[in-house]
Symmetry: none
Subunit: 206 residues, 4 copies
């Protein structure tokens, strides 16, 4: 009653998600997508401007949620944090689990972004995401450095490559279709594995 009838949309989006997931953006066939959704190509073009627009629509809420999530978690300026908060930011045990929980909620959209987006505006999602995280993280690190909490020097570039690797590790269980339980185990393991304190020159707290 409130909204106009969009009952066909979910069918297209669902079908598109399936195809994009299975074959990647570039090799995905609109004909297959339309066929699966019992819709003609023309109908698709009524709602979406093209193949990429369709991809973006499939992925839109994931992207939005991701932005919101990142925003919320990096809202606090480095300068406002206590020394303790600044240091413990690297002991990510529950922080990571929160991340995994969040990403698991947007599982398919996230996999699309990291695995099937070649050819779309999200082609560099992994890189851009690492970049975003790097910027914020480096800012915190610099603040810690200024306060004398560490004496190690890490350039943006080095931090970027370390975080790229780290986040690639985060992506992995999604790409390989882990169950939630597996992901939980994965989370704990990699938190134990990555010794950020040592790399960044903090006093180990663990």
């Amino acid at each position: 009653m409130s909204k106009p009838d969009r009952s066909i949309d979910p069918r297209i989006l669902e079908s598109a998600k399936k195809e994009f997931l299975a074959r990647g953006f570039e090799k995905a066939s609109l004909k297959t997508i339309c066929g699966d959704a019992d819709v003609t190509t023309g109908a698709l073009y009524k709602r979406f401007k093209g193949k990429e627009d369709l991809f973006c629509a499939v992925v839109a809420d994931t992207v939005a949620a991701l932005h919101a999530f990142v925003e919320k978690r990096s809202a606090a300026p480095a300068a406002t944090l206590t020394d303790d908060a600044l240091v413990s930011a690297w002991n990510m045990d529950d922080g990571m689990l929160t991340w995994f929980r969040f990403l698991y909620q947007y599982h398919d959209g996230f996999v699309l972004l990291i695995s099937s987006a070649a050819g779309t505006r999200y082609a560099n999602f992994q890189h851009d995401f690492a970049e975003t995280m790097t910027t914020k993280t480096h800012e915190y690190f610099l603040e810690a450095h200024k306060r004398g909490l560490t004496h190690v020097d890490i350039s943006m570039e080095e931090m970027h490559i370390l975080l790229s690797a780290f986040w690639t590790t985060v992506y992995e269980p999604f790409i390989h279709g882990y169950t939630w339980d597996q992901i939980e185990a994965h989370s704990k393991l990699i938190c134990k594995l990555f010794n950020w304190n040592r790399v960044l020159g903090f006093h180990a707290t663990t």
Copy 2:
């Protein structure tokens, strides 16, 4: 008796490598490859069964060298190693540098395998490589466990996760086109970053 004259091959392989690196296997154009190599498509098909066969040829020596390298390094049965050797296998400072030196030697082939192989039989190279390493590594770990050098339990699956994370970090500088100097620095960083002793339950040596 020896091999037939393959004097034209290098041009094709070089050209193919360039194109595969630049555009990835799927988007690479045989026409471009043949054009750059001053060779006709027909000639190409005389020597290679098809696009994928060409890719495999480009990558063949890297794959072979990789196998040989892995084989050599894991030739010794776990049981024959001293306790010390078993434990220090994880403090990989020079071990890693050896790896990096090796991989840097096969730079392009390696990048092809980890970045441009989608659509070929090497699509899952990263995963498969981690798998390979996991088997051998787990065997060593089990031996260490048996000897009481650790009391932590790590399943094959967990070991796979850990090694995937680790190797992902190793790949990173290649993907990002690091110079050798940068890779050397990265190597040191990596060794600091990974907390193998903690994860595997060895006495911290650092």
Copy 3:
């Protein structure tokens, strides 16, 4: 009793005129036309049978006015004209200006007919118009011939060629978007340019 409410029509017609003028009949987009007119395609199809019908509607009053104008100007049977009238019909100084004034009044519709009608029933407007004029003109010429005002023989086909050439020259300033002042100047030039007396065998009056 009178006409049904057509209050929305002007918007469609205006929008259609704009689009047809800008892109020609074939490349004009009904979607654009409907969008500009704030009307749905369905609504358009309620009033018009299709794209061509719409074009015809846009052009209808121009066509009607043209017919009326031609009719009025050729109402007098050739036989009823004086010798003088018959001959001076070709020294068209003010006759032409009257024509130009008339065409300028129906500027857009006329341009549509001569420039944008490919694909419609008016595709051959130029040719058909020349044809129409030819019939009447030839009749006058024959009458003049009969009265001995000329001894030249001009067939219908030849007359058609001559009038085609003449009217093509008339169209030109419309196609080129001349202002009224430019058209007025053009009109004078035209009268100088065409050597009707020589072609038709009248005594030069100029």
Copy 4:
């Protein structure tokens, strides 16, 4: 023996010419063209870069001949002509016939250029051709003016529109498929009809 076998090309070009002539560039269907030529679409793309390239190929010799013809006829700088030559340039009786003979030789290509080129780089052929002729003609006229052979002032713009009309008249018999005999008659008629001497202010020589 000298040339490689291109025996299939004529079939494509012939078929393309037919289709372009019949439906215009934009509505012409490559499938139809290929079908008529007993060739697959792929084959077409081996020889031509695309639809427009095909059109250009069909029209290439006409364009070349046209350029050469124009070049040859306007090679003489205005300043080098005698007064007589300058004036009689406008009494085009045999000049026009030469033109018609030439155009008739390239009949189909010429029709393609003036009637079927919308959407190609030759879309503005008519206009550009008129422009070319205008430039040269105006130069001659200016020279005549300088020498006092005329006192009339005609701007480039006015000349352009007059020549546009004139050349449109030249095109007409081609567009309407006149036979050579009809064209010859047409040529004579329009030369009689257009009174360039009067418009340009020369002493009538006829």
